[in-house]
Amino acid sequence: MDGYNFAYLDEQTKRMIRRAILKAVAIPGYQVPFASREMPLPYGWGTGGIQVTAAIIGLADTLKVIDQGADDTTNAVSIRRFFARTTGVATTERTADATIIQTRHRIPERSLRADQIIVFQVPIPEPLRWLEPRETETRKMHALSEYGAMHVKLYEDVARHGRIATAYDYPVMVGGRYLMRPSPIPKFDNPKLDRSPALQLFGAGREKRIYAVPPHTEVYSLDFEDHPFEVQKWEQACALCGAGDSFLDEVIVDDRGGRIFVCSDSDHCGERRAAGHVGAQPDALGQPADKVAP
């Protein structure tokens, strides 16, 4: 794109962001304040993730962008197009082929590798925010590991609902030290955070924070001994590929309450179908053939 630097940000800004990332990697789960820039995309639409990606992307990278697990949601398309325009790097919809995966609200079903970096878009980085609105106080609580109030919330859930009623953005302890919000991924994805071989970076643009989970770091989802953490389960399998162990989107197919369930991770689903897996209603969405064949 004429008149703009590679990956939009100027090199000084990228260096500033890289310093913040290095600090974040050195202190797993700690929120590093950084001088977030205005981006040409609105705050709350992934500016933190975009800045992190812009700071780490190089010509040799292959970028994948997903939103809700899918590559073809409008915001994922928009961000992928932004990087294609400002860097010219290769983009892909295949998890296996990507070196950088920028994501909103999901972690791909396929296990990530040590040579991959996943960049999360974070709307609200502070896990204690709903318990304590003040930044000055929450920073102190982190510094002193005063996380009792977080368990008060979980206690309330169990007392009221008989279970921990947090379905996404489920709080975790990183490396046994810092309480962290994993961004609004479903808790289904939390186990993928734990000891992942890939570097996991989190960018919050509007709130001006970067944090990280370095490879192979322990990520523990908060719970009680007698109410252990567990992930969502579906009674159904994916209608298209038959997967019984993936996160499913519910798709309403008619106005009489008819609905089917399909993989939220579109690449995972496509890969399975290409490998010959077939669900109960493989043609339910009239998926074009080119989406199925790799």
Binding site: E146, G148, H151, K153, Y155, A159, F224
Partner: protein, 259 residues
């Protein structure tokens, strides 16, 4: 028998608000199991003193030395903030005059009582709940109120809930600021009885601030009388109330209607 070291040693404690004196040059020792009453009319500096003692307010001069469990006597204002905050939520309790200042009004009674346990690492829901139930019983709150929000509680129940929330961590020292001050006369007596019983049963050390000499007489072993920021008289409770020496104390005692 008294222990060899006081639990709290206060020396020369002074706090000013600009030119105005909050409290001036207060010194005393508090021994384990002892209940010290601080009396005086409003504006006499007793609440300022309590806030300094309980590390809620930093004094301009003086020392508050607390006998910590593991490291012996330490000036609480020389402790690092993490140590001090840990002390405040485990070894100490603070009962505020208005229970809403000491409670989380947005969570259930059970969560209010269980919070301190969770803050120090309790992670078994069943056991936390059992402790909460036990403590609700001990402060005479019906067990079936455990999941109710504090806003559905009466003033007396709120104050008892605040007491349970503090005592659940087995503190050694409890600070109370006019514990009956926000209550109707009719419920004051019941709360006083309860406090009296708990303090005796648990062997708590207590510093209680009150303007109500009846409260002082029932709870405190020893009294300090404050006026205009200074301690004007101190001694055993009965001694001070039955045979006041200082003119101001005489006035205070005389102002109480005797039946």
């Amino acid at each position: 028998m008294m222990a060899a070291t006081p639990l709290l040693q206060v020396r020369g404690l002074t706090r000013r608000y600009g030119a105005r004196i909050g409290c001036r040059d207060v010194s005393f020792d508090l021994w384990p199991g002892e209940v010290l009453g601080i009396v005086g009319e409003s504006g006499s500096g007793k609440t300022t003193l309590l806030k300094c003692l309980s590390a809620q307010l930093e004094p301009d001069a003086g020392q508050v030395v607390y006998a910590t469990r593991d490291e012996g006597p330490r000036d609480i204002f020389a402790l690092s903030e993490p140590r001090r905050r840990l002390l405040m939520r485990t070894d100490w309790g603070i009962v505020h005059q208005h229970p809403v200042e000491g409670l989380r009004m947005g969570v259930s009674a059970g969560a209010n009582v269980g919070e301190r346990l969770m803050a120090v690492g309790a992670r078994n829901y069943g056991r936390i709940r059992a402790s909460a139930l036990d403590w609700l019983g001990r402060v005479e709150i019906a067990r079936d109120r455990i999941d109710d929000m504090p806003r559905t509680f009466s003033g007396g129940m709120l104050q008892r809930l605040q007491i349970a929330r503090n005592l659940v961590s087995s503190p050694r020292l409890v600070f109370m600021d006019e514990p009956t001050g926000s209550l109707d006369v009719s419920v004051q007596a019941r709360l006083l009885d309860l406090l009296h019983g708990l303090v005796a049963d648990l062997g708590l050390s207590v510093v209680v601030v009150t303007h109500d000499l009846a409260v002082a007489r029932l709870l405190a072993h020893r009294l300090m009388v404050m006026r205009a920021g200074s301690v004007v008289e101190e001694g055993l409770t009965d001694q001070v109330l039955d045979d006041p020496q200082h003119a101001y104390t005489q006035l205070l005692v005389a102002s109480i209607l005797h039946p």
